[in-house]
Symmetry: C2
Subunit: 339 residues, 2 copies
């Protein structure tokens, strides 16, 4: 299996992407195509003392940064590592593409280059969301700000298949994020989506209030990309501010300082539980090829895990299963392209 | 000044509402009308050894519970403490109404009985949201699930006036909750609302991402009621689950147990900072009379604080100021009533 890796993405750049790729080769037996500045990649490979033949390098003259307007960057930077990687997947020269670069650009490129599965109106970004019981899959986490009910239905079906095949959760419980648990609650979108989800071939367990999301009662959490992004960012911000507020309290006396010292390892373990980079990358669901967004702060281990995730994604034929399930739905689909 | 209090609402019922009302009389010099089961109220007043003449009791034969469909309950239970209280405000027999009963019913009743200020299309529930720096006002927190951009503009103006007059924050910074900070980010609603807010007579400081909400960088946080309710409930759920997960870690060894013991008071102080009942009740903004929703778990102190808030609300002529500001906006308004 050949996995293409965007060598230039992420906060740690080549340091993480090259090392992670080498670890993946050793552990998973995959072939890797590293895309980016050829010389720098070669240097980094040497530093890692790797001299095997399972890495191919494709030189990329450009890099898409986080500051660029995503769709524009994809259109203009044809020689960027991201556009080259997505084209490899489109042409079938690679089985999957992993990038820790700009989320927006990867989404835009996924749709523009790899394109959507027939019958899928919108592709969604699916994020593993850490909970008390483990992890739930949240989608859409920000790809589609304005959604129709049928998009949410498609997200639910794709999320259910992914959770079953990749996260190994049998008959995953699918919930619709809403502001009340009863049927008939919510806004126009969620009311309509509720009815569609209920009639779908998934284990739909009803609405979930945001209060219950951290409890982990649902395996798949469905919402539009605006709400999904708010949930993701608020979780990040709250965790950070709660830690910093606790720190303030704990530094206020000698007694509490000693207490905090005794709890240091407990805090560390806890932070790890909340850290969603621990739970792998975020797949783009609904595109005709496998595209995985690794977290921007990915280290080598996170990159290796994202490559592993891509491998399992391909092996389990998730895209084919989505195609089958969606084609059985029938109905009219939006033909409008977003770019 | 006469404040009507729903004696029957809240988890603690008469215990909190009667005691809180008596404390308010002593501390604030207001007159109170307690509405509910007359005999029970009288008993509770006796228990509190209050024999002054500043409490009037109005008997109510019915109570609206949290389980009832709000609009239906308001329509049918004409003899409930909530409907009687709202009618007192409408008729001008009371200057304000405070209830810790069903939020939905109070919203429905506020609109149906007290009615909206001329020029206001939708009334919003405004919640004090605890942050690292103090408190921000979040609106709409759940009254309106589907909003137009002009509703958000009205929420922003009302929130700004309330924050300045009641929370004593000069020239409050108003932010639009969005999934990116730049202009042009977000869904159709937020893009349109951005332009309206920018042209309004408020201190609009732009979009705020959910990640930055807990930092307290904005004084007024504007969003539709669906998103607002998600934010509120997720905050509650995350705080609870973070505490329970920390507790698990801390109970895992003797060392960490001792540490947790030493930090007990720090944790307590911290929990208090996060507890939004500490920051007073939630005003209904946009109705022709003053209606305050006290938290369902209100104790006597919280009820007293909500009464105080109602008093300041009336004294500062917030409603008149909203009327002035909105009438200067001009434009067409929805005439459709929601009931």
């Amino acid at each position: 299996m050949i996995i293409a890796v965007d060598a230039m993405g992420g906060d740690q750049g080549l340091l993480a992407t090259v090392k992670g790729s080498i670890e993946a080769i050793k552990e998973l037996g995959v072939n890797i195509i590293l895309i980016g500045n050829e010389e720098k990649i070669k240097n980094e490979i040497l530093k890692n003392n790797y001299c095997g033949s399972d890495i191919e390098i494709i030189n990329a003259e450009e890099v898409i940064t986080n500051d660029e307007e995503p769709a524009m960057a994809i259109r203009r930077k044809k020689k960027s590592s991201m556009v080259i990687g997505l084209n490899l997947v489109k042409e079938g020269s690679a089985d999957a593409f992993v990038s820790s670069g700009s989320t927006g650009a990867l989404l835009a490129g996924g749709l523009f280059i790899v394109k959507r599965i027939k019958g899928i109106d919108r592709a969604a970004l699916a994020i593993p969301y850490p909970t008390k019981r483990g992890v739930s899959l949240l989608l859409d986490a920000g790809a589609n700000t304005d959604c129709k009910a049928k998009y949410l239905q498609q997200f639910a079906i794709m999320g259910s298949i992914y959770t079953e095949k990749i996260l190994n959760i049998g008959n995953p419980k699918v919930s619709l994020i809403n502001i009340g648990t009863e049927e008939g609650k919510g806004n126009e979108l969620s009311k309509e989506a509720y009815l569609l989800l209920r009639s779908s071939n998934i284990n739909f367990v009803g609405n979930i209030e945001a209060r219950d999301i951290p409890e982990g009662v649902a395996d798949v959490l469905v919402c539009d990309g605006f709400v999904g992004n708010i949930i993701l960012k608020l979780t990040e911000g709250l965790a950070m501010s709660i830690f910093s507020m606790l720190k303030d309290e704990f530094m206020s006396s000698i007694k509490s300082k000693i207490g905090a010292l005794l709890l240091k390892s407990g805090f560390k373990k806890f932070k790890k539980r909340l850290d969603y980079t621990e739970y792998g990358g975020a797949p783009l669901l609904g595109t005709r090829g496998v595209v995985i967004k690794a977290h921007g702060s990915s280290d080598a281990k996170a990159i290796k895990n994202a490559i592993k995730q891509a491998k399992v994604f391909v092996e389990n034929k998730v895209i084919e299963k989505i195609e089958d399930e969606i084609s059985s739905l029938g109905g009219n689909h939006d033909t409008e392209e977003r770019f």
